[in-house]
Symmetry: none
Subunit: 226 residues, 2 copies
Amino acid sequence: MKSFNRLSKRQQHMMRFMHAYTQKQGFPPSIREIGEECDIGSTSVVNYNLNKLVDAGYIVRSGKVSRGLRIVGPIPGVTTGRRVIGAVGPHRVALVGRIAAGEPISLPEDIGHHIEEDDYITVPPNLLGSYDASEAFALTVRGDSMIDAMIKDGDIVILRRQNTAENGEMVAAWLPEDNETTLKHFYHEGDGVRLQPANRDYEPIYVHPANCEIKGKVLSVMRSFH
Amino acid sequence: MKSFNRLSKRQQHMMRFMHAYTQKQGFPPSIREIGEECDIGSTSVVNYNLNKLVDAGYIVRSGKVSRGLRIVGPIPGVTTGRRVIGAVGPHRVALVGRIAAGEPISLPEDIGHHIEEDDYITVPPNLLGSYDASEAFALTVRGDSMIDAMIKDGDIVILRRQNTAENGEMVAAWLPEDNETTLKHFYHEGDGVRLQPANRDYEPIYVHPANCEIKGKVLSVMRSFH
DNA sequence: ATTATACACGAACATTTGTTTTTGCGTCAA
DNA sequence: TTGACGCAAAAACAAATGTTCGTGTATAAT
């Protein structure tokens, strides 16, 4: 058996092209199309390297049928790398950190600062509602206090920056006195504010408006099952 | 302009076959393969109906290249939705219709009336996991049977196309006998299959594997408040 | 009846496309 | 040196595959 993962520069080029072509066209390229793109003069050389990729487990071929190949392995420079190509575009919001949905935890930086390039996340337009991506930011949820609101640990919530909230809205609230940020339902309660978890195991938090700074309201949530 | 929502039985058969074949093989079928499957004796007849489907906006063809076709419209009996031509790009998956998470509902076979949002939706890479956007599709959830799995009515689930499933995975299953598609947890149960809702108010569905076609497994979910 | 249209068949045709064969160039080890 | 082996090129071959053309059959509209 050979060493895996050792693709020649040419084979990597082929992998990338086959992936891009299939994405764009809806069907895989022919041997000659691969050869033309990768500057390979002969179809047999393409065929040779294609079989190499099969041996390495990167693709599967269906013999004798035209365009009979399918990508089953990682695409060098696209899937393997952490950096995703083509990630520049609209509907990108900052993934600024984590927020407690259980016991409040402190957020190191204020929301909206120290955002790295990799901390942006692409968001479907429908998750932004009528708001612009520039108004929005994202947080990873920690804790289970919003479990009854169908938000659980690990979820990513999309919020719109705003300093006020209506009764019943789900908001990210910063408690300056404790330097803590938390995710709760917002309610006016007399002169004060009630931050209501959506979990019977947790008690609501009562604070003075001066000690409760709304950072944004929740627009949407997304979750990945691993 | 013609009416595009009326496909002949033969054309529906072709649509279903092209979809299933592409799913299974990774590339579209040839004209002769379509003809053989759909009991069409002549390639020209297949070609004729293929062009009909192009006119109707169900597929796109790349002239002169083998297997040069791509499905861009709804698949009768499988999906619903509005048709879109050439709307492809990175991290975009087809939003193909709705799926029942409660009592199974049958998907209407005539299409073209649903004025939904875009038929394609941008999906953050993290919601696709290790899979490619070309393998994925999206469905809007109807019903509350998966409420205990934190999926509720109106949610959009991202799925990866596959015909098999592991025990416990959440899958979209098509029940050909009833022409119904449903979202359930999948379990092998002796010789049969158990489709388990995540809601105490709903009973599991027991079916024979022959009457249960897995369409894909759920990768992720997203929800918008409002 | 006539025309138009949708749909279908079969056969030939022209390309596309995967496969095979032959040849050659390097590198590396015995 | 010699020989094995990975890699590459060109040409020829065989099969797969899309396209076209002539024809036929219903059905509905005029």
